[in-house]
């Protein structure tokens, strides 16, 4: 199977503070995400999940190692950052139109795509309100919509369920399932293991800048009664 993301020996070191102290974030991450996977990237805070995604997207440069995407470039990738903030004085419709324009969609296709997305994430009624008036859940949904504006083959979502009420979570899960059904590859970071259990085909558990375990959810559940107990066993080993 062709990997949608192939990460090999990824290292990342950053320098922080006035004295430029070295901090090692990634210590050799090896990871394969296959086409049409719903891939869950798990791990405690500071394990290196977000950094791995940022390097994959080119927002950070790797110190060593490589990332290969199975798509022709960022034009086929959608990304939702953690705790997204968007432009306060733009409306949801304007913001999505702006994102569509970044991908070079012409005016009529742009309008069409924006309306499709607003419907898909349930923001039609709030489409003309300025983003500063949106609730956290609404911002998360507009964030997901902007990640899908280019109809990407590969979708990376950083904590997509954070801050959502139960209704919002159900809606986001439905969107992820729909993307999966249409043949997309989805990788998301999450601390909510019940969602991971429900949605993911494969997972990786990161610990201290490395992938400590990777495999199918069913393989994890064959080794422990719940995903939570398996996760705890891996991260405390």
């Amino acid at each position: 199977m062709v990997p949608a993301i192939q990460i090999t020996g990824l290292h990342k070191t950053v320098r922080v503070g006035f004295r430029r102290r070295e901090v090692v974030i990634l210590r050799g991450v090896d990871l394969d995400v296959h086409e049409n996977d719903v891939f869950g990237l798990l791990g405690p805070n500071g394990a290196g999940k977000t950094t791995t995604v940022k390097v994959a997207l080119g927002l950070m440069r790797p110190t060593a190692g490589s990332v290969q995407l199975g798509v022709p470039g960022v034009s086929q990738v959608g990304y939702l950052p953690e705790n997204p903030y968007f432009y306060d004085y733009l409306s949801g419709r304007e913001f999505l139109g702006f994102c569509a324009r970044l991908f070079g969609l012409d005016a009529s296709r742009r309008r069409e795509r924006v309306e499709e997305l607003l419907r898909e994430v349930g923001l039609e009624r709030a489409a003309d309100a300025q983003l500063r008036k949106y609730s956290k859940g609404m911002l998360q949904r507009v964030g997901i919509a902007q990640a899908l504006v280019n109809d990407p083959q590969l979708v990376l979502l950083d904590e997509p369920m954070t801050g959502l009420d139960p209704v919002g979570r159900v809606e986001v899960k439905r969107i992820i399932q729909r993307l999966h059904e249409t043949g997309k590859t989805i990788m998301f970071n999450s601390h909510i293991l019940s969602d991971v259990h429900e949605l993911c085909t494969r997972i990786a558990i990161m610990r201290e800048g490395r992938v400590a375990w990777t495999g199918a959810v069913s393989e994890a559940l064959a080794e422990a009664p719940t995903l939570e107990s398996f996760f705890m066993r891996v991260v405390t080993a």
Binding site: L59, M60, G73, Y79, N83, Y85, Y89, L102, N150
Partner: protein
């Protein structure tokens, strides 16, 4: 190109709708109108006082808007992490910097255009002394502020928004004086001082070169040819500074 236009339009929308901008513009208009009072207490020089005071108000408030918005443009995107959304799409760092700058140019054109037309109408109605030169002077203030906006954006790629604002204002002040300092140090016959002031003169934009305020009140001023040449110089300066800002920003990780 599509990306530059998209970012420029987005920046224009975002900045023009900012309430802080509206407050500053209202203050500016009140200050310009304050020239009426100054004019009324000056003997026979009402028009001159109104124009002088009005152009100073346009420069001052234009500078505040230019520096504070330019300082926040790039920094806010990094701080609030909207850059994650932008740079995960096919947007280059150069397109980002250019788009931001062009969008701010649009906002400044609206702000300075509004203040300039308001001043022109005020002088025309009250003192019957408005000339096209008044609008040329406002246009030249705009050209000066383009250079300051570019410099401030450059500084904002290096450090905090506050530092960029302060340095932007410093460059504006130094740019008004750099030519005079160069002339004065040449008189001192000290080679080191002359060389240093020449370096400063090259690095800091010579803003006084496009200052045509004197022409508005009937004193001698630059010819159209000189205005054209110095405007081209400041625009070239803008291009160089934005290229440097792009180089710095390219090295940044988020």
């Amino acid at each position: 190109m599509n990306q530059v236009v998209a970012i420029a339009v987005n920046t224009f929308r975002e900045t023009i709708r900012d309430r802080v901008l509206a407050v500053i513009v209202v203050f500016a208009l009140v200050m310009i109108a304050g020239g009426l009072w100054l004019g009324s207490i000056s003997l026979g020089e009402q028009g001159r006082m109104m124009k002088d005071f009005g152009l100073v108000a346009v420069t001052f408030f234009g500078l505040i808007v230019a520096v504070f918005i330019a300082a926040g443009l790039v920094h806010k995107e990094v701080e609030k992490r909207t850059v994650f959304v932008l740079f995960s799409k096919p947007v280059s760092r150069a397109a980002f910097i250019c788009g931001k700058f062009i969008g701010l140019c649009g906002t400044m054109a609206v702000v300075l255009g509004g203040m300039g037309v308001f001043l022109f109408l005020l002088v025309w109605i009250v003192a019957h002394d408005a000339s096209g030169m008044l609008l040329v002077a406002v246009a030249m203030i705009y050209v000066q502020l383009l250079a300051i906006m570019a410099v401030t954006i450059f500084f904002s790629t290096l450090g905090s928004a506050i530092l960029a604002s302060v340095l932007g204002i410093c460059v504006f002040v130094a740019g008004q004086l750099s030519h005079n300092v160069l002339s004065l140090t040449r008189l001192s016959h000290n080679a080191v001082t002359a060389a240093l002031s020449w370096i400063v003169y090259v690095v800091i934009p010579n803003l006084s070169a496009v200052d045509v305020k004197a022409g508005v009140v009937g004193e001698s001023t630059l010819s159209w040819g000189e205005i054209g040449v110095w405007t081209a110089y400041l625009l070239a300066y803008v291009v160089v500074v934005l290229a440097l800002a792009t180089l710095v920003f390219r090295r940044k990780e988020f």
